[in-house]
């Protein structure tokens, strides 16, 4: 009897410690793997600027390729599908379909750095208790910036599936800028990814990220002398804008949580300068000779201003 008690105690401690021993970085790594490699669906509420959108969400992972599908429950009725980095949006009422792609994969729910330990000097990852979200026990992880160049976040992680159940982004005044919340989450019958599969998935992710063309940027006439610590150059491409058909060079830098785009285009008849804000997204525009430079991203104002003012011509 005593042996049985000790055995049960050891078993329970082993299972209990499995989660409790995780630090913030490890939680982020696990949730990153889970949300990319599992099949699940549910209902997600997106809240921003006092507006609420409720959508049905489905995520599948087949043959190393992620697919996300969002179906709105309210007008305008639309279905947004992401197949890796290709995105299509079907507006059901007008039957209009929009297709586009982005150089890198972006989740509709949340994106997290694969190696959060790299951001040790920029963020504090705090394990902050447990709460219930969508009737599921969730571990709260606070992602707190150590400078004023990025936003704080909180992440609620399902302790069973390790999927993100809720995300909140906070402004510098502490007010919530954005929320993403699962009100219902269902796991589909799929085998849990093995370590080998996770490694393969990481490799797949990396291959998508290898669109980064830092070398091309180094050879461009532009120079970015300074940017916030922890940010990296992700890609540099030449884009043709959808409506204006203008040719714009686009450099994206990111720290894994936040991204900043720097756009370079020929100055028009009327140049644009100064700050602009839309929710968590800020932009700062300036003119260098005949070049219009705009830094834009979901970072505080001082960050886009810092980045834009760091641009110079070689």
């Amino acid at each position: 009897m005593r042996f049985l008690f000790v055995f049960l105690l050891l078993i329970s401690r082993a299972f209990a410690n499995d989660d409790q021993a995780l630090d913030g970085q490890q939680w982020l790594q696990k949730v990153n793997h889970a949300m990319k490699n599992m099949n699940y669906h549910g209902t997600v509420v997106f809240m921003k600027h006092g507006q609420i959108d409720t959508m049905k969400y489905r995520h599948t992972f087949e043959n190393g390729v992620e697919t996300e599908r969002l179906s709105s429950l309210n007008s305008p009725l639309r279905e947004v599908t992401r197949h890796s980095n290709e995105i299509s949006c079907l507006y059901k009422e007008s039957q209009q379909k929009v297709e586009t792609h982005h150089p890198i994969d972006r989740s509709f729910i949340v994106n997290l750095p694969l190696k959060p330990e790299r951001l040790h000097d920029q963020y504090l990852f705090a394990v902050a208790g447990q709460e219930m979200i969508a009737m599921r026990p969730a571990q709260v992880i606070a992602i707190l910036p150590k400078d004023d160049l990025r936003y704080a976040r909180k992440l609620w992680i399902d302790t069973t599936s390790l999927l993100p159940l809720k995300v909140e982004v906070y402004g510098q005044d502490g007010k919530t800028l954005e929320q993403v919340l699962f009100t219902e989450l269902n796991l589909e019958d799929s085998a849990a990814p093995s370590d080998a599969a996770l490694t393969a998935a990481e490799a797949e992710d990396d291959s998508h990220q290898h669109v980064s063309q830092a070398e091309a940027f180094e050879k461009s006439p532009f120079e970015l002398k300074k940017w916030p610590a922890g940010f990296e150059k992700i890609f540099f491409i030449r884009n043709t804008m959808q409506q204006s058909k203008k040719t714009v060079d686009h450099l994206l830098i990111s720290d894994g949580f936040s991204s900043v785009s720097i756009y370079f285009e020929a100055k028009g008849e009327k140049s644009i300068e100064g700050l602009r804000t839309l929710g968590p997204v800020n932009s700062y525009s300036r003119v260098i000779d005949d070049l219009q430079v705009t830094a834009l991203g979901e970072v505080p104002l001082q960050t886009v201003e810092l980045v834009a003012k760091s641009v110079s011509l070689r």
Binding site: F46, K48, H49, D53, M55, S72, P76, R78, V80, R82, I87, S88, C89, T100, I104, D105, R106, F108, I109, V110, N111, L112, L114, K115, R118, V167, V169, E178, V180, D205, H208, Q209, E232, I234, Q242, Q243, S244, H250, L252, S254, D255, G256, F257, S258, S259, S261, Y263, G268, K270, I272, R276, L278, G279, P280, V281, S283, T294, L296, G297, E298
Partner: protein, 168 residues
């Protein structure tokens, strides 16, 4: 006979005497001090029984009031002018004021319309760069994050999360 009068007085105070008899009784009371005293007493008792505050006037209360009215001085004041004349003058003044006010505001409105038109013209002239800025901002948002692009028909509101990327 007097007993019947007293009984009628009691009925009068209790408001149970019909009108012809009441009038006849009051005529009798006017000329009979004994009935007047009896009526005053009955009224006082009735008020006391009903719990009302007693306010019994003196017997000569009415006479005193009558004398006061007779001794009231007569003031011979100048007669007022005709109201019609006053109304005509008032209408003329009001009409003049109205015309002045209408004229003033018409001029002001004209100026305001001109100002508004100028402001609208100015705004229209300034709207161009604003629209240009909005369009550019929107395009930049679309290029920054596809989430914005697929949602652009519903404005620039985001239905999804922040843009980010997978850092290696």
């Amino acid at each position: 006979m007097q007993a019947q009068q007293f009984e009628k007085l009691s009925l009068l105070v209790d408001d149970q005497l019909d009108k012809p008899q009441s009038v006849q009784l009051l005529k009798s009371v006017r000329h009979d001090p004994a009935l007047q005293a009896k009526l005053q007493r009955y009224a006082l008792i009735s008020q006391a029984l009903k719990g009302e505050q007693a306010a019994v006037a003196d017997l000569d209360f009415a006479d005193k009031v009558k004398q006061q009215l007779k001794s009231e001085p007569v003031y011979l004041m100048q007669r007022k002018k005709s109201d019609d004349q006053f109304k005509k003058t008032s209408l003329a003044v009001a009409a003049s004021l109205l015309l002045a006010v209408v004229g003033f505001y018409a001029g002001k409105m004209h100026n305001q319309v001109q100002t508004l038109a100028q402001a609208t013209t100015t705004a229209a002239a300034e709207q161009s760069p604003a629209e240009q800025m909005n369009a550019q901002f929107k395009e930049y948002l679309q290029a920054h994050d596809n989430v914005w692009y697929v949602n652009n028909n519903a404005g620039v509101k985001s239905y999804a999360r922040l843009a980010s990327y997978q850092s290696r």
